[in-house]
Point group: D2
């Protein structure tokens, strides 16, 4: 439900306009130094600080992490690490109109059908705000991975039809001016992963990565190695391309996967008020890294 | 590791050239009638009976299911259902040469690195033969889903660059004649799924489906709803397309996803002897249905 | 590790002298009203308010629950419920001497050996303070169980050799005056549980109850039905006594189990300073009820 | 349900009078030599070969293990190990009378209420025959533990009121002659377990052991360390007795626990025909060792 992982687990909680969002990490080894500065910087990156087309809330609300347990003098104790980020800039009143209506393309209606009750205040659990907790968890995972020589780097490689990164801001700004939004593709590379990660049958490494990444809001697809594009190539031409995984198990070479994010359905053009992003894919980049780090550290635990 | 699911679980076991492959289903409700004829027919479909380009073993070895427990007079007892399929046509001698070598594009080497030991007899666990057990499990899942009004239908929609189904056999035959192989795309539609299936955060329905499907041998990508193609469309144009899932939860409409299968790396052209398929995507179709059924019945349990 | 349950899960976190202790409940159904008054009263009961022999900290520190998520207007949202209790009366300085020494009968040393680091401030995670979070979780479980007609009542039935409840305070006071401590036996009755709870093989109801109760600090034994005492009775005399469970499954009659708590090893007599209880069994009573409620609600979810 | 463990898992299947009972072990490391002779000998021990008061079936039916997967040349492959024991001496006709009646003290009725269907052939899953699969799994666990220097030894320490082992056979024979049955207490010692096994909060080592042992048919209680008897001792007298576990974590010293088994309710005196044991506790001894081994190897995996 709200727990990710088996041995290095991350429990996420919090509504976007409630008291706080946060998480509990269980299974983090003792003695790990936590780089608080990196966490701050990754949260800013997720918030879209200085990015074209990011929503005002994301830019204005500094995400301050409060550590409740599991850390003493900046080092982990081996006990559960609980942290929260208070929702300072919550504006439930902006969403009063949602009490009795559902937004197109949002989860408002299915939540009400599933639970019989709904936190109408800006999406509640379904809000992208929840990903801030993922980024904090991901930072701790990344720091542990880095010590093992494993690096994760994601980047935006396509916005709409545009594949030239120098033109991305321009493209996004154009959609924003029209009160519209646009999708994007994020590519992520894992380097330094040792051979042998992943299980042969159901828990293949690619299945675990797909599960982690497809759990991010607005993600509509995942591919690795030869991907969808490889369908037109004969076996003789591509049988040397492993994509870093053989039989579900890492083979020691770099792994590159790609995932696609749809544009947010909340646009001025669609008549939906609120604080929205013109291209959520830009802000998804650190979240893709975070989920990749979380799933890898769990597999390595 | 070798268990799929949380409440309706499927444990898979068996090497392709050992005594038997099989599975244990735990959590299947009591009193369900099992349609043995459907299981036979689905196993034939997986074996590629009558299909262009299917490997001889698949066609010649009738997969006979032996039921060991959990079923009395064709009805389930609510206790674990264990079944096996003996490996009658096992020919370890065909693979003697593999004892001291690794095949390109196969998992031979990573298995040896991961386990320090390897069943060289035709891939062992990594063989596609393991999917026969998935098909048996999937049939039981499908039968239970059908009673709930849920139907799953997969079909091949692309082979190489060809998208016209009437030309698929021709395309495959052409690659086979060259001792080569080719990939394909499978599309799968779920209809009748009630609203409310899937969890909002990590266990989003799309993440669960991706996990299930990406665990199939040779699968390199998964997409649903607007998919990768949707990246060029603005939010205003596609915000009404849910793909059957909102916020990770089924919304009561049909769900269609697509997945891509790479060509088998074992080709005569690559100098690899054995019994291989010219287009594994054809035989993946019932496996995609099986894994979809298994993941859905688990979510509904 | 720090998560209890499969479907209705309780994640516990917090060191006894850190910022806070708390928990996250996942899988609690939406729409449940939370009785905050009952939670306050159960926390007082656990704290030993007004009890003979309870430690000063327990009595002086009011446990105030702060709700972070999952609850709106006193009703559950179906999303994870996170709560914390701040450690107001934390006095790390009382434990400075523990930085470089281990207490007899305590977990200080094994923690350091297991984790390589230790929160010396009053036991950290090993402190009985952690059970306050269990009591909060247990209250929510109990409230849901009560709606289903299931009641749980635990009581102290033995203190040292004394089995007359009217003499318990007197007995405890006698040990306290000597700077010593004494054990006790708690008996717990579950009534209203429907037939069919528990699984036939490993997850027998008695195994689940034993697991839940034996996880409480200082608990050294568990028995139900005919228990240890039944060993002297022939089958013909006791084969009608089910103890409320047959083949691991509840049979619809009341279930009564007993568990024993050893005296705290921290006694003035043993030369250990700090704030301790003369008979922890008295304060274990609501914790036994809490763990029983938590395991039952999980089995019923 | 029918799976024990998290990382080294044991899935049990099979009805006592169906085709076979068996199991699947997942997570067993590759390269372990399996001592088939020890397995045979432990199965004989469980069957009560040569024991006073054991049921005729247990003595007459040689339990032959058939290995289906995961083992090559007597060594484990790291893949799931599936094994079966066929039910050669199944006599469903002996149980025809059970089709329409329930036995006192047995699980017949709750099974029917829970599942709506019941395998009346001799108890089905509820039969003690299922423990043969536990013994096979336990042997493999024990062999791996032995390599790590960990030994498990259980023994019968009480039969009825008798605590002198030389008089046990005599005591049992007396009850058998009267067509009655009697309970017993089994004591088990774990030696060589390293420090640090067990988790501090819910998964305390004593809770895991209790869970494993209380899952054995007819077990009514579990105690360790000072146990129930310690209730009369003051803290100052027993605070040096850890029972091998501190704060839920093994402390490197021997662990001794005790568990009680009630007499079988199926007695001639009670008018129940069939093949029964006069003292099931005798045959529980290897099962207690098996479950202890399984839970320990899982915690160490």
């Amino acid at each position: 439900m709200n727990v990710f992982g088996e041995k290095w687990t991350f429990t996420s909680f919090g509504e976007s306009h409630g008291a706080a969002i946060g998480g509990v990490l269980d299974g983090v080894p003792a003695g790990l130094h936590i780089d608080m500065e990196m966490i701050r910087s990754e949260l800013d990156r997720r918030a879209g600080k200085g990015m074209t087309g990011a929503s005002p809330r994301a830019k204005n609300e500094p995400d301050e992490v409060e550590w409740l347990s599991g850390v003493i003098d900046g080092r982990t104790l081996g006990t559960p690490i609980a942290f929260i980020i208070r929702n300072k800039d919550a504006r439930p009143e902006d969403y009063e109109w949602l009490k009795h209506s559902y937004r197109v393309g949002h989860a408002d209606k299915v939540y009400e059908l599933k639970y019989g009750i709904r936190d109408w205040r800006g999406g509640g659990r379904a809000s992208a705000r929840e990903t801030a907790a993922r980024v904090v968890a991901g930072c701790i995972a990344k720091q542990d991975l880095a010590q093992k020589g494993i690096e994760i780097h994601a980047r935006l490689v396509q916005v709409g039809a545009e594949t030239d990164p120098t033109k991305f801001n321009e493209t996004i700004a154009a959609y924003q001016q029209e009160g519209d939004s646009i999708g994007g593709i994020v590519e992520c590379t894992i380097s330094g992963l040792p051979t042998g990660v992943g299980e042969p049958i159901f828990n293949k490494l690619q299945a675990e990565l797909a599960f982690a990444v497809m759990s991010i809001n607005a993600c509509k697809g995942f591919e690795y190695g030869t991907g969808f594009g490889g369908v037109t190539q004969p076996g003789s031409a591509i049988n040397h391309i492993s994509g870093g995984i053989a039989g579900g198990i890492s083979d020691g070479t770099d792994i590159t996967f790609r995932c696609v994010f749809k544009p947010t359905p909340s646009t001025l053009k669609a008549g939906i008020k609120g604080r929205h992003d013109a291209c959520v894919a830009t802000r998804a980049v650190p979240v893709v890294e975070a989920m990749t780090a979380i799933v890898l550290i769990d597999l390595l635990s």
